[in-house]
């Protein structure tokens, strides 16, 4: 058999015969989810398709996270529609406060290594951290999965990213690596492809770190991102999927991770990436830490380590949205939340928060935001007159202490 990438292996295992980049296949899906942005349209399309019953209710998950709790009656009614559908169809519904869809799916061990998972959200590739093949789709594609339990896919070509080094510089995290990869591949550089992570650094990366790397493949246009399973530790037994040695890649990117410095994406594109040092001193008034990129316990701890015993610069605010209820509970247990609140942070509900500009902290005209999220498109946070810089939680925390972009120590 011809050597295969991880994506080719997972798709072949599901198709029942070997498939290679460029071929079309129809594969059974191990799990699927939709959020309050995408589920209402998916439910409508499912019903229009003639759908009466979900193909696999135990594999379908609804999450209310994008505008949660509902900021107005229109959205409240969409949430009701989701709740009613879930109770009628006996599928899981994670209501407000559960957290961001991607974190919820990982916290609850919904996605496992080797799985194919379809999410009606563009950051679904995040589960590639678990050595799974996960794709973002729109509502109608998801409705088809709900109806048939399957999806048609073109087997993607793969880009290999090799992360060299055994440790990162102080103040550098997986976010800085992800930003560097987005910079090198650009916002369209991985379109239709799978970004596969390899290299000795993987032995030193946690599940959270791996989630950051895969999360931001969405900012490269990728179909999916998958981390090779070296160093992956999970609380259950699993069958890892490795790439074959001679697998074919369209491009190989070698990154000396040990030599990286903190990175920042400047307005208005996530691939407009520079060293933080080049922007030190730029005034900011609003910091945001959260999202499916950087709202996990280690992210809140990184911020707390910078903010412990200190307070926000005058005129600066900091909004923190823990990525899930589990993250919030863990961060309460170890005192992280208390440290952040004492420093002046506003903790908001576990969910997407201000990431997508619907509620919970829309910036004002002319405001400059430093955010730990993944996108800084103009208007992303709800106001096209504001500017968004993207950086790691440590860089955001260092910046809200001084009121201008600062390097984490």
């Amino acid at each position: 058999m011809k050597p295969q990438t991880i994506a080719e292996k997972i798709l072949s295992a599901h198709a029942g015969y070997p498939v290679y980049a460029g071929e079309l296949c129809i594969v059974p899906v191990d799990g699927a989810m939709a959020t309050d942005t995408t589920a209402p349209l998916a439910i409508k399309a499912f019903e229009e398709m003639g759908g009466k019953k979900l193909a696999a209710p135990d594999k379908f998950h609804l999450i209310i996270d994008h505008a949660a709790p509902a900021p107005n009656e229109r959205i409240a009614n969409l949430h009701q529609l989701m709740r009613n559908f879930a109770s009628k169809q006996h599928c899981a519904l994670y209501d407000i406060g559960s957290g961001i869809c991607h974190q919820v799916m990982v916290d609850h061990h919904t996605v496992k290594p080797g799985d194919i998972f379809m999410g009606a959200d563009s950051h679904t590739p995040t589960y590639g951290a678990l050595n799974a093949f996960a794709c973002g789709v729109g509502s109608t594609d998801l409705a088809a999965v709900m109806l048939t339990g399957k999806i048609w896919l073109k087997v993607p070509h793969s880009i290999q990213v090799i992360l060299h080094g055994h440790h990162l510089q102080p103040g550098v995290s997986a976010k800085d690596i992800a930003l560097e990869v987005v910079k090198q591949l650009t916002i369209s550089g991985a379109t239709y492809q799978s970004v596969e992570y390899h290299g000795e650094l993987l032995h030193h990366l946690t599940l959270s770190d791996r989630m950051v790397l895969c999360n931001m493949v969405a900012e490269m246009g990728a179909k999916t991102g998958i981390v090779s399973p070296e160093g992956l530790q999970l609380p259950y037994l699993f069958n890892p999927v490795f790439a074959d040695k001679e697998a074919a890649y369209t491009r190989v990117l070698e990154i000396d991770a040990a030599a990286l410095h903190p990175k920042i994406a400047i307005p208005h594109s996530p691939d407009n990436v520079h060293d933080v040092s080049a922007y030190v001193g730029t005034p900011i008034t609003y910091g945001f830490i959260g999202t499916c990129t950087n709202g996990r316990l280690s992210d809140l701890q990184a911020a707390a380590n910078v903010l412990r015993g200190r307070s926000l610069a005058p005129g600066v605010r900091l909004v923190i949205a823990p990525a899930s209820r589990q993250v919030l509970l863990d961060a309460l247990q170890d005192g992280t939340i208390q440290t952040l609140i004492a420093a002046g942070a506003a903790i908001i509900n576990s969910g997407c928060g201000p990431c997508v500009g619907t509620h919970d902290g829309v910036p004002g005209d002319g405001e400059v935001v430093i955010s730990a999220a993944n996108r800084n498109f103009q208007g992303r946070m709800g106001n096209p007159q504001s500017k968004i810089f993207l950086a790691s939680p440590a860089t955001v925390a260092a910046s809200v202490l001084t009121g201008c972009i600062s390097l984490p120590k």
Binding site: G138, A144, T191, K223, G357, R375
Partner: protein
Amino acid sequence: MAKAHVYADNIDTDRIIPGKYTKTLDLSSLAAHVMEDLDPSFSERFVQGDVIVAGDNFGCGSSREQAPLALKAAGVSLVIARFFARIFFRNAINIGLPVLEIPDHTIQSGDEIQFDLATGIVINVTRNETYQANQLPPVMLAIMQEGGLVAYLKKHKDFILS
């Protein structure tokens, strides 16, 4: 004949329809805000049936199907790009918004366009040029010919590869 409205590379879905407007099932409210941050005069200049033309990577960013739905509801008859972001491309075909990938088009704003979806041939009447769009994979072609994935699945009940 349809008039072309030309946009740059990497137009993201937040610019096509901002996230704050996406939480609705009311298509006319989507149409009311389409492209408003990117091109505030869009709704004045756009005539039903006109064509949107873009460079690389049109529709990058979020998976929101509200982006192609908003364009369709506004009366866009076709979107042409050098290439499309993956999820947008699938979504557009699934909801029945015609999209054609033409890597070498030289269409300028205001050009008069004629097109044939079945053959993928686009004629730029203003410049007297003809372009051939990239072929769709067979399953996508079948979905487009049915007018979208809802109609396709209603009819076939399942996916058929060729």
